[in-house]
């Protein structure tokens, strides 16, 4: 049977499109860098790039989890609230137990995030609440819990041990620690999505849930897993957030979900689910952060940045959809050609 052949051609075409997508973002990134380098003084300075790396790090960490969720054709709007809640809880733990081990607190934050994500997953997969509604509700609920726990107060840098604050201020080999952590998470995420057998299920579910179920994939369990991982990484993100912005109150990371989703969508993760790469997400986050940094340097108002964020999502989704449509037409044509060729073979 020439089944393998067909698959290879389809796969190579798909990966070509992914590569095209990543090259497209790289190109945009290059253009942005060139533009700002000419227009904005200081843009190319090491300090500025370290700043960009720090700003983008937490977006990437949370974005990797969000990507898994979006791959399964769902969305997680509650990550901003999870980041805010775990940021406060991490800071509060340090404030009350100054001697606490950094790794332990990180694990606690991840565990709490995991639990909150699990709730999202159960709501979506078991209680059958559409992801957008479920996470819109938990966005409000988790933030409400956050406000109650903080009691309207805050934790400040002074109450936090230096070991913890160093996470955000140290720069091994000139690259901020936060960025190293983000790179680690992105690499593990990319590797998992590429090689772990179960991770391919996410793509399958996103491409066609019905077929995935018939193929014996435990759809519900995978969706719960995706949300739980997204929650856990948001928990890690919250832990890092507290180190980066050590004055933590109940409004910390409000609206952060929009930054994350922007990065994921611009990074080429298809909102229909089923396609997208971690490299794309990292590049997407970098592109957004670079442009926002450039806007700041050029003293363009905050509000234009907000406008731009939204505009970029619309453009990215439009391009994506058009490209996907082309891809599918091409796929169908190839399949038809292969079929025709087979018939021809059979005929002769």
């Amino acid at each position: 049977m020439n089944f393998p052949l067909r698959r290879t051609s389809a796969q190579s075409l798909a990966s070509a499109v992914f590569r095209l997508r990543e090259i497209g973002i790289l190109f945009a990134l290059g253009a942005a860098v060139a533009f700002f380098a000419i227009r904005a003084p200081n843009f190319l300075s090491t300090g500025n790039w370290q700043g960009i790396a720090q700003n983008v790090a937490i977006v990437i960490v949370v974005g990797v989890g969000e990507t898994l969720v979006v791959l399964t054709r769902n969305i997680d709007l509650s990550v901003g609230s999870i980041v805010g809640l775990t940021a406060y809880l991490s800071a509060a733990t340090f404030a009350h137990h100054t001697g606490a081990s950094v790794a332990l607190v990180a694990l606690i934050a991840i565990a709490i995030g995991f639990g909150l994500g699990l709730v999202n997953g159960l709501l979506v997969a078991v209680a059958r609440v559409p992801a957008i509604i479920a996470t819109l509700a938990t966005l409000a609920i988790y933030r409400g819990v956050d406000v109650q726990i903080t009691g309207g107060g805050n934790i400040t840098a002074y109450q936090l041990p230096d070991r913890f604050l160093k996470l955000a201020s140290t720069k091994p080999v000139g690259v901020p620690t936060l960025a190293w952590i983000a790179a680690g998470v992105a690499i593990v995420g990319a590797a998992a999505v590429r090689w772990a057998p179960w991770s391919r299920d996410f793509y399958a579910i996103g491409s066609n849930p019905e077929a995935a179920r018939f193929a014996g994939i435990p759809v519900g369990r995978r969706v719960i897993t995706a949300f739980a991982i997204s929650g856990a990484l948001a928990g890690l993100g919250g832990f890092l957030f507290a180190s980066r912005f050590p004055t933590v109150d109940a409004v910390a990371a409000k609206g952060f979900e929009l930054d994350v989703i922007t990065a994921v969508v611009i990074g080429g993760v298809n909102v229909f689910g089923g396609s997208g790469t971690m490299l794309g997400v990292v590049l997407g986050a970098l592109l957004v952060a670079t442009i926002q940094d450039g806007f700041t340097l050029l003293r363009i108002s905050e509000f234009w940045r907000l406008f731009f964020n939204g505009f970029a999502i619309v453009v990215a989704v439009t391009i994506d959809a058009l490209v996907t449509r082309r891809l599918q037409e091409a796929l169908r044509r190839r399949r038809a050609e292969a079929l025709a060729a087979r018939h021809l073979e059979a005929g002769t």
Binding site: G47, G153, S169
Partner: protein
């Protein structure tokens, strides 16, 4: 299967019932001695308002009044409106409000006033015709003057000074800068020279960058005045990282909690802000006196505000009638541990 679903439904319903019961109990009964005062912040999520409320509760205890502190979770004038209406319906005697949208809350406050509720605004003023008195933390002139004073104290009254502001369009900032310039023009500050006004956009990263640029561009810089809580914190961090704390003095407006670390490290020896607890305390005394009919908003009236002393109803920054808390409080390494906000 059926039974399991019933069980789940039962558990959910039970949980809902328990929650409702808990809420019912937490709503609680209240004693009806003294005045009932509703303290409505811009939002309950920001710590300074929690501090205002603590001061307000202390004042209410002294006065025998009851304070209810509640507000929306978003900074939004319209979201305060249901709270105002609800306070009026519950028969509160007075409302103390800080708002971000002076006009959006005005109609509701007037509705409340029509029901006999006395309204006092503080911190974020409302439209003047919708409240009896505004309690201001300080006056712009006092803020501008005292910051120059602090910079002068720390630099032995000589040398180059720079200002690290928020955004070029912020009205508060620009008024303060105007008064700082006026103050610096006085003969007693003739040896101090304002070299640059930088803008950090109230963004920590940008403020840090601007500080770095100031340090590099003005090698003889002796002091930075940052009249913004975001700016002063970022500047302190930057000066500490660059090891310039001895050489360049930092002053301005900042929160003690934000700055404690840098004060202890010797990177900010004198900066200020009003005492947020005293602010809430004073506002409560004002509303109490308004309810009692002792204050009507006539200029020149005076009130005794417990441990804070006597205050006068005045015109301040072109606004009236206003009760002004006073010049900002100076935080120094000696007194900073007394303040927690």
């Amino acid at each position: 299967m059926h039974r399991r679903r019933l069980a789940v439904t039962g558990i959910v319903a039970g949980a809902a019932l328990v929650t409702m019961l808990a809420l019912t109990l937490s709503a609680g009964a209240r004693t009806s001695k003294g005045y009932k005062i509703f303290f409505l912040p811009k939002t309950t999520t920001i710590p300074v308002f929690t501090q205002n409320a603590l001061g307000a509760k202390a004042a209410a205890k002294e006065l025998g009044d009851t304070i209810t502190y509640n507000g929306p979770t978003d900074v939004s004038g319209p979201k305060q409106v249901p709270f105002i209406d609800s306070a009026a319906r519950q028969g509160y005697n007075g409302i103390v409000i800080s708002t971000s949208d002076p006009n959006a809350v005005a109609p509701a406050l007037k509705r409340a006033a029509a029901k006999g509720v006395k309204v006092v605004s503080y911190d974020g003023d409302t439209a003047p015709d919708s409240r009896t008195i505004f309690v201001a933390p300080s006056s712009n002139k006092l803020i501008g003057a005292i910051e120059v004073q602090w910079a002068s104290d720390e630099t032995h009254n000589k040398g180059e000074v720079a200002i690290l502001s928020a955004t070029p369009t912020s009205p508060n900032q620009n008024t303060w800068i105007k008064f700082m310039k006026q103050e610096l023009a006085k003969p007693k500050y003739k040896n101090m020279k304002l070299v640059k006004i930088a803008y950090g956009n109230d963004d920590p990263t940008e403020s840090a960058k601007q500080t770095q640029a100031l340090v590099q561009a003005y090698p003889n810089l002796k002091a930075i005045i940052a009249p913004t809580t975001v700016g002063i914190q970022a500047a302190a961090q930057e000066l500490q990282q660059e090891g310039k704390c001895k050489k360049i003095q930092l002053t301005g407006l900042g929160l003690p909690n934000d700055m404690r670390k840098y004060v202890k490290a010797g990177c900010a020896n004198k900066f200020g802000l009003w005492d947020e607890r005293a602010f809430g305390y004073l506002a409560t005394y004002v509303v109490h006196n308004v309810i009692a009919g002792k204050l009507t908003g006539k200029l020149g009236q005076t009130l005794k505000a417990g441990k804070l002393g006597t205050f006068k109803v005045v015109v301040s920054d072109g606004n009236k009638p206003v009760v002004v808390l006073g010049p900002p409080l100076a935080f120094t390494p000696k007194n900073i541990d007394k303040y927690h906000f």
